[in-house]
């Protein structure tokens, strides 16, 4: 919806308007730390990132899993990212364009989400919660919630997990 509006606006204003308009798109820079584990058997975790707003269906922004496994085998364990599966995942089909991604290695992982691309919607001002959940094969599961207020110009939030997630933070600007 919002995406289409942008497109119309762009068309109406001509090509010259494209650049400033793109620069003004809401952009979320997200940082997710996956802790390095000293365990005998380590598998990179499945991670889901989604956005919640009261009264609206949760929106999945990104999911990291075994996207390339043969025959869609990677989707078999998606339900282990349990809260996300219930909130949003079970109503989606996979691979999800602009949302599905490969699992990532331990360390600080960066993700840039631009409104209107992939799963990222253009936000209207209000209260939101960004949720990051990680579930690891033969490991644990953890969820970090980052509530924030979007005032139309900028927002930032940070939280820290205790087991499967390290520091999680983002800045959102337009």
């Amino acid at each position: 919806m919002q995406f289409r509006l942008t497109g119309l606006t762009t068309a109406a204003l001509g090509a010259g308007a494209l650049l400033p308009n793109a620069a003004a798109a809401q952009t979320m820079d997200l940082s997710i730390e996956l802790p390095r584990m000293t365990v005998a058997e380590y598998h990179k975790p499945y991670v889901a990132v989604w956005l919640e707003k009261e009264g609206q269906a949760p929106r999945t922004l990104s999911v990291w899993y075994d996207v390339d496994k043969r025959g869609g085998e990677g989707t078999k364990w998606l339900h282990d990212v349990r809260q996300w599966w219930r909130a949003s995942g079970r109503t989606m089909s996979f691979p999800a364009d602009g949302i599905s991604g490969a699992t990532r290695a331990p360390g600080v992982q960066k993700l840039r989400l631009v409104a209107g691309k992939g799963g990222m919607p253009a936000l209207t001002p209000g209260q939101y919660t960004l949720v990051v959940e990680a579930a690891r094969e033969v490991g644990g599961r953890e969820l970090v919630r980052l509530p924030f207020t979007w005032n139309g110009s900028s927002a930032t939030a940070a939280a820290k997990g205790a087991s499967e997630l390290g520091a999680v933070s983002f800045t959102l600007k337009r």
């Binding site: 025959g71 869609g72 085998e73 989707t75 078999k76 364990w77 998606l78 339900h79 349990r82 809260q83 599966w85 219930r86 995942g89 079970r90 109503t91």
Partner: protein, 294 residues
């Protein structure tokens, strides 16, 4: 099973009709209830035992009926009946909620013909009743059994087609979907008796894994005027739910009279205690619900 002496037969029928209500618990235990992807299998243990969910007594060997999310009949594969448990697998190829059911339905009874007491053949159904009782039979006593034991498994998002009531016996209607349970959220279910909301049903909820704790973790509730009951889960886990029109009976006690309220209509026939055929109707509903951690 051939009965030569009516007396023996009567005793045997009484014992056959009674087990679920009196002694042990029948249960179906799925390997998963919430799955993702497009092509999965679940396996199910089916057994009768006291402790949930430990197969240490008898298998529940009946062939289950599988209903797929689109309403069509599915298949129980690799069915195997062992000493203590039966197992079977269900191949999930559709998106949505599957029902896996073992319904024990039949009529027990007897009649007198030419001064001789005869038992109804085993496996008689309600529909066959008129044809199996010969003309001229007197002192007809029948007891209908309809014990429904069903579980639900969802691939993808939960759906509701398998909850369409048949109007027979006790059935569950979701208010909360049985495959959408989380320990920090109370769940509400509605129960129907013969298609109508049934108030005052006894709903027994027991958490599995009892072997490793000293208490049963049992919750006893009754359905309200709309046939609804709300269960607050003490923790995540597999729960056995049993719904009956009568107060569930303590373990190890003998047969007790059937309730004669609206929930358990009496069958036409003689008074209670004539030769041991339980008069009235035995209906129950049993399910196993998986409650996940938040």
């Amino acid at each position: 099973m051939q009965f030569r002496k009516p007396l023996f037969a009567v005793a045997a029928v009484a014992a056959l009709a009674a087990p679920a209500a009196i002694a042990h618990r029948m249960w179906l235990l799925p390997s998963s209830t919430v799955v993702s992807g497009n092509d999965n299998w679940v396996t199910v243990d089916a057994a009768v035992s006291n402790d949930l969910f430990y197969f240490d007594h008898r298998p529940l060997g009946a062939v289950p009926t599988i209903t797929q999310p689109d309403g069509s009949e599915g298949k129980a594969e690799h069915h195997n009946v062992g000493q203590f448990r039966a197992t079977f697998d269900v191949h999930l190829t559709q998106q949505g909620t599957y029902r896996i059911a073992v319904v024990n339905q039949g009529v027990f009874g007897r009649y007198t013909l030419n001064g001789e007491t005869k038992m109804l053949p085993r496996g008689t159904t309600k529909a066959q009743l008129a044809s199996v009782i010969p003309a001229g039979a007197t002192d007809v006593q029948t007891s209908e059994t309809l014990m429904r034991n069903e579980i639900f498994v969802t691939q993808g998002a939960p759906t509701n087609t398998v909850f369409k009531p048949t109007g027979q016996g006790i059935e569950l209607v979701p208010v909360t979907h049985p495959n959408d349970l989380v320990s920090n959220e109370p769940a509400t279910f509605q129960f129907l008796m013969d298609g109508k909301p049934a108030s005052g049903l006894y709903v027994t909820t027991i958490l599995g894994n009892g072997r490793y704790r000293a208490t049963q973790k049992q919750i006893d509730l009754r359905t309200d005027a709309q046939g609804k009951v709300t269960i607050k889960w003490p923790e995540a886990g597999m729960y056995w739910i049993n719904v009956t029109p009568n107060a569930p009976q303590p373990e190890g006690e003998g047969p007790r009279p059937q309730a004669q309220g609206a929930g358990a209509p009496r069958a036409p026939g003689g008074p209670q205690g004539m030769g041991g055929v339980p008069s009235g109707r035995r209906v129950s509903y049993t399910t196993t619900l998986e409650v996940l951690a938040p």
